[in-house]
Amino acid sequence: MKTKLGKAKPLLGLILIIVVVSIISPNFLSKGNLLTVLRQTSINAIIAAGMTFVILTAGIDLSVGSILGFSGAICAYLLTNGTNVFISFLAAILVGALFGLFNGVVITKGKVQPFIATLATMILLRGATMVFTNGKPIAVKGESATKILRYIARGDILGIPVAVIMMVIIFAICYHILHNTKYGRHIYAVGGNEQAALLSGVNTDRVKMLAYMISGILASIAGIIVLARLSSAQPTAGDGYELDAIAAVVLGGTSLAGGQGAILGTIVGALIIGILNNALNLLDVQSYYQMIVRAIVILIAVLLDRKDKNK
């Protein structure tokens, strides 16, 4: 019973925040606003889903924001030059997978700490994006390209935004992988005790490399959504997104020490952050103050979680 409640804790936090926000700002509960919150949350949530894999292995991925920016720029370039839309998307995703793999190889074969390895990739790819775009946005041209981007950004299926549907599908797949497959078990085993996992016959290097690849792939998918939103690739796109993603994972109850946590917590964590941002906007709080409020909420949430775990 106690563990069940423990798992539900981020959810209780989410409900609390929804109740408080809807009392202060009745506009919050309008259908239009709720869909906006979901749409805005989807990008961070998708990145955070990949981050969950990495953090469960006791790692961290600081490069997701830069991967998002770089793969978005590649995608925009290809689209503008008339490349087939799906090939362009695939190329973007491939870029994410490749640099995720790069992170994984440096970490497992090079035995570099994840923080440092992905920090290097983060700087590297931001620089590469600047070089590639010449520091200027790449506006997407071409009829079919703009059409499909507009569909991703503003389209809906049965009234639900496309990006939100993508988010739900991604989380369903991630849930399945983490809880119903051999690879999922191996993720938890590696994060819980890497040496024991190795001695149990787990290919720990492969497990970790795949986790960073998944993180890279999901970051580049988020990159496509960001590109669609702005209909242009910004050289600074995704800057700082890694921190929101990490915050979502931790708010969702996943331990930075690895091995403990759940993907469903991550979506709750991402929603908490999304709703908070939305509420602060609805309440017309100045953006400088918004940062302070967000910091305080994150700290309180994590401290409450800590206190519970120490008992």
Partner: protein, 497 residues
């Protein structure tokens, strides 16, 4: 008879699901050494943790010099004159010896500046008293484990406590250091200190203790004068049964070779050759650091091989990882369950199936019903005591954790099972169950390499014994010819006596 200094009276303590202590009493007398004896899990550590204020008791009283005291925490215990030397070293490795000795009680002058020279001098005196040669200005991680233990003892002495508890103080010490420790204990007796001495080594108990308090399953069994006891009697009090019943050796028909190791050499071992037959338990004896675990892990594919060959059922094998070894029928169960054997944060079921998930693969995902069924079978077969299969392994007792680790290895259906210290840190009852399992494995025609530092276990359960020292095999003995003297001779002299 000395005056009674410490009396713990009718102490009880429960943890969720376990009554760790049930109405236990312990006394310590001025100028005497009281041995506190019992198997693992008998409640010795819990009792000492209550005395030092780590745990709070559910009921009972603690009297010091006739007055009831309330110990809040270890620091409070130290201030009241109760010093505890822990089994696990409690020193800070990157601080110096003298800084550790005076940790939390640093001497300062009126400007709050450390009086280093004064502390170094006093440390020197304390260490001299223990007759060990340690420079107090060295950092703790620069001195040997045995010397660290002596530093720990020096720290307890510096408290000038009236009651000193020593929890397995000789575990890491050499014979010479043990002797000087005993000299110090005798000296402390003349200074009218009361000492509580916890040890598994009965020889030491007879050498240095005056009385013994025996606990079993959280209950007080008896308090007796050592002079009225002999070894057999103490064991009987501790385990409630005699030693013979401890090792249910099973004779089996051994047949063809399963494993053959020829001239295996790498960073850790040299020129290792031996063979292993179907239905056989091969014991590997030796001192800690003899390269036994490393040999096991090398066969298991964890360490690369420089020279030599391994044949499994006549076929030459070369494993690049434990994964390959497991796939080919070799499994290794680590001596260190917590850091190598189990994923403590995962549940019982997931730990048992971790090495065999391919057995549960379906088109999409895992067959969780089958997983549940199979793990339930193992839970019953090897008597894993757990409230449920979804219980996290970290909440189980040591013996049950070990059974989970063994269940995991059995599920891989190994042809060769390497058990490294299979009964370390578990109580006699669970040990017996693991020996029974060993016999069941033999009956099924599999074979086992059992690495163990416990001589009785090696002698009691092995069909054949090889003795290792410094990475080399020093000798091989059949069950019939093996005695602990012969094994020690191989280790010490490296030749048959």
């Amino acid at each position: 008879m000395g005056r009674e200094i410490l009396r713990m009276e009718n102490i009880s303590k429960s943890f969720p699901g376990v009554k760790a202590l049930d109405d236990v009493s312990l006394k310590a007398y001025e100028g005497e050494v009281m041995a506190l004896l019992g198997e693992n899990g008998a409640g010795k550590s819990t009792l000492m943790k209550i005395l030092s204020g780590v745990y709070t008791k559910d009921s009972g009283r603690i009297l010091l010099n006739g007055e009831e005291i309330n110990v809040l925490n270890p620091r409070d215990a130290a201030e009241k004159g109760i010093a505890i030397i822990h089994q696990k070293l409690n020193l800070i490795p990157n601080l110096t010896v003298y800084e550790n000795i005076f940790l939390g009680r640093e001497k300062v002058n009126s400007y709050k500046v450390l009086k280093k020279d004064c502390m170094i001098d006093e440390s020197k005196k304390l260490l001299e008293r223990l007759r060990v040669d340690i420079d107090p200005t060295l950092r703790v991680n620069e001195i040997s484990i045995a010397k660290q233990q002596m530093v720990e003892i020096a720290r307890a002495l510096s408290l000038n406590a009236s009651v000193i508890v020593m929890d397995e103080p000789t575990d890491t010490l050499t014979d010479k250091e043990v002797d000087s420790l005993f000299d110090v204990i005798r000296e402390l007796k003349t200074e009218n200190k009361a000492i509580v001495y916890i040890s598994h080594r009965l020889k030491e108990v007879f050498e240095v203790c005056d009385r013994a308090t025996v606990l079993r399953d959280g209950k007080l069994i008896d308090e007796r004068m050592i002079s009225d006891l002999d070894e057999d009697e103490i064991i009987k009090l501790m385990v409630g049964r005699t030693l013979d019943e401890q090792f249910p050796y099973l004779m089996t028909q051994v047949s063809e070779n399963v494993l053959e190791v020829i001239n295996l050499t790498n960073k850790y071992v040299k020129n290792i050759s031996f063979s292993l037959k179907k239905g056989e338990v091969l014991g590997i004896s030796g001192l800690v650091g003899a390269g036994r675990s490393e040999l096991g892990k090398t066969i298991f594919g964890l360490y690369p091989i420089d020279e030599g060959e391994i044949f499994l059922e006549g076929k030459k094998v070369e494993f690049k990882s434990p994964k390959e070894a497991i796939e080919n029928g070799i499994m290794y169960v680590s001596e260190d369950r917590k850091s190598e054997g189990l994923v403590l944060s995962m549940d019982v079921k997931s730990n048992i199936t971790l090495s065999s998930l391919d057995k549960f693969k379906r088109a999409i995902g895992l067959d969780k019903k089958k997983e549940e069924r199979v793990t339930q079978e193992y839970r019953e077969k090897i008597k894993i005591k757990t409230p449920s299969l979804t219980q996290k392994v970290k909440n189980l007792s040591g013996g049950n954790q070990q059974k989970v680790a063994i269940a995991k290895s059995l599920l891989t259906e190994p042809k060769v099972l390497i058990l490294d210290e299979p009964t370390r840190g578990i109580d006699v009852g669970a040990k017996r169950e693991i020996y029974d399992l060993l016999n069941a494995i033999k009956k099924e025609g599999h074979c086992v390499i059992m690495i163990s530092s416990e001589m009785p276990e090696i002698l009691g359960m092995s069909d054949r014994i090889i003795v290792m020292h410094e990475g080399v095999i020093k000798g091989e003995l059949t069950r019939e010819e093996a005695t602990s003297e012969k094994i020690m001779n191989y280790i010490i002299k490296g030749e048959e006596n």
